[in-house]
Amino acid sequence: MLPVQAPGVYAGGANVIAVLILLVEFGMFRQALLRDQVRLYASQSALIAVLAVLVGAVRHLPELYVLAAATVALKVVAIPLVLRRLLRETGPAGAPAAGADIAGSGGLGLASTVLIAIVVAAFGFFAAGALPISRSAAPVTALSVSLSVVLVAFVLMIQRQDVASQAIGLFSLENGISLAALVVAASLPLILEVALLFDLLLAVVVFGLLIRMHIGRAESLSTADLTSLRG
């Protein structure tokens, strides 16, 4: 096999940021405390903003700066704030704040889950590798990484058994899709991108309402009792 050519400094840097996003996604498997998961989500969104600035600087797309600013404002500041406030509320009868809760997890241990997630991420890499993508703003490896982030986020949502972790898993899935958008749709009109972000904020608010309702009913965040509707 011939020596592999280096892809260039920009491509290498962008790929490293993309891989860091994937690693943060894996990091969510490890974090047991919910507020740490919120922090990881904020750092993942910050990485996306950094990558947007990098792509905008190198490819001369000034709209991406605005997008990065909007991402920081919404996904790094506003949404974690909403989530933290939600988790900080005490449960009924003085139960401790939900933010310190350990995230409920399924039967598999951490190492096994990470191995399964690696297999799933591999599938994402293979799938993206089969796509002939030309003319992309960010390097194509980032697209493979974004598909892996989406798939690993699905594994995270399946494995976790409490509502807050599942919600954070869904938001990190949306981060993976934002990463894919940076690769293939970097010049999507700004107004559409901002509309998507505000739509995400709305969704977060609704999720928050439903989680609060769940806490009120079940006095915990666990979804282990959500088994009554079958068939």
Partner: protein, 320 residues
Amino acid sequence: MSILLPIPVVQLLQLVTIAGAAPGVSGVIARAEARLQGRRGPRVLQPYYDLAKLFRKEALAPEGASWVFLAAPVAAATCYLTVPLLIPVLTTYPLPLGYMGDILGGGFILALASFLVAVAALETGSPYAQLGASRAKTFAAITEPVVLFVVFTVALLTGTDLPYALAATVRSSAGQIIRPAHVLAAAALFMVILSETARIPVETHTGTNEFGMIEEARPFEHSGPYFALLRWGSAAKQLILYTILINVFVAPWGLAATRQAGAVLVAMIALPAKACVLGAVVAVIDSSFAKLRLFKITEFASAAFLLAVLGVFTLYLGGG
């Protein structure tokens, strides 16, 4: 100076550098760690004095131990003297004996040394030594796949298995340094090195925490010159692994490109200096994190495995 050193001399200087600088690097790490923790710490050359003291002491062997018990430290030391011939220590060009083995060969020899010491520890019948030996082998088995994937990354990047080739590739352009495969492989290798050299978060290097000891428990029953050989051997292993990480992945500069005496001398000073910098980083990690509980070391290994596998993926499937 334009004295050209003959090749065998350069080869010998490689051995001398590793063998001589190894305890020094350990001393630097110990002092740095002590300083970080607010203590004065031992002097940097303390390990040399310890080794000298130990060579003067009497050697004892437990009853029932066979010749393996006494031969193992010597054999291990021999292995640790062989590996520096295979890796880029002082030069950018491969030396003749460097073709004896590639990265995998070097790995095999290091594993052989570890195996011999473990067998010797098992022979003693001491519970702590056996505990350490069995744990060390288990965790070595768990970190093996990581090393393999790092080797795969090296192989995919250069088309060969020779560490010299990868060092040359990394030196060739800035793009090679920042590509994710390279960064991930280096990070994975660093985590394996933390595990192999018995540092936090896998094990506390100093002190005798019996419930947590892995590597440190193996030389429990040796004494005298054999214990000195084992202590020196673990320091040499540490420096060899640091050398692989530094001279192949992270900072392959400062090596002699010619046989000129001046260049070789610069390399001989540069290598321990770089190793001390890496040692300072390790000392910072030592002082910042807590030791993992034993059953969580699999999580640590799986994290390293994740990094290594992602390195191969981004390279093989992503072209990065």
